[in-house]
């Protein structure tokens, strides 16, 4: 059990790191693009929109982080 806990903690530290909001921002942005894709939106414009979303969600996560630390 201790090994499993340590193993899980290792991969959490490795993938999620110090700020879980970054991982959430990435997954949320990709989920929005996926929803649009499955809804029938296709083409290079969707990929470009995905890039914009990733930047916007990252910005939001950093701003939330800084505001909370005030």
């Amino acid at each position: 059990m201790r090994f499993l806990k340590g193993f899980g903690q290792f991969w959490y530290d490795f993938i999620i790191g110090d700020d879980w909001k970054i991982a959430v921002a990435v997954v949320a942005a990709l989920a929005v693009v996926l929803a649009l894709l499955l809804g029938g939106v296709t083409g290079p414009a969707l990929a470009a929109f995905g890039g914009v979303l990733l930047i916007a969600f990252f910005t939001a996560s950093v701003v939330i982080d800084v505001r909370r630390s005030r």
């Binding site: 290792f10 530290d13 490795f14 993938i15 999620i16 790191g17 110090d18 700020d19 970054i22 991982a23 921002a25 990435v26 997954v27 990709l30 693009v33 996926l34 894709l37 499955l38 296709t42 083409g43 290079p44 414009a45 969707l46 990929a47 470009a48 995905g50 890039g51 990733l54 930047i55 990252f58 910005t59 996560s61 950093v62 701003v63 982080d65 800084v66 505001r67 630390s69 005030r70």
Partner: protein, 264 residues
Amino acid sequence: MSGASWGLVASTFTASFVEFVEALTIVLAMGVTRGWRSALAGTAAALLALVAFTVVTGYALSTWLPEALLQLVVGTLLLIFGLQWLRKAVLRSSGLKALHDETEEYAAQTAAARQAESKRRFGIDTFAFVVSFKGVFLEGVEVVFIVITFGLSAGDMQYAVLGAVAAAVIVLVAGAILHRPLAMIPENTLKYGVGLLLASFGAYWAVEGLGVFTASGESLSWPGSDWAILGLLAAWIVISRVLVVTLPRIKGAPVATPQEGMVR
């Protein structure tokens, strides 16, 4: 060797160099305070585990996963790593987080090592072994993902590996000669640059890889194809500079020196 190959070597070299410097600091701290035998045993075990991880992951990625799923998985991981680095770089540049200092990191590691109780198994100090193993394996796995991504996206794995190996050799030799952390390396600047690269390649690949969920299973295409990576790079540079300027105002504090007003 073409310009693109040099660029590939430089990218994996820089990214891997930063990771190896961090691993070296941890191993040095354990070696000096708890004994070289245990620190080097942990390092050797981590290197063996890394080789096994690379072989299994490389085989699984190249044989079982369709191209689009590979792009999605590796791209998403790279994107998360890159944005973590970019976040820290932005906070450091705006004075909201202390600059990373290998000398301070070394001091913290050695202090923790001196306080930890001594438990020995098979003549090996467990604390030094585990900390060295974890440090080398953690940084090494990041290097593996970086090499895979840059190598596959450039279609040239040899040069990607060459960059990482060169970085490992230089850090090892420097560590062996100096016997102290490589604090003179402009690590914060390097991390900012690497964070930008990882975020750009990661975003490109992760979005492309979403095509795995379509009926055809083919990767999504970006406007301008591979040139979109440069567009992403420019966008990450712009947004990171904007954040550096605006975050101190959002925090409602005057622009602090990097040692003051840390976020975390």
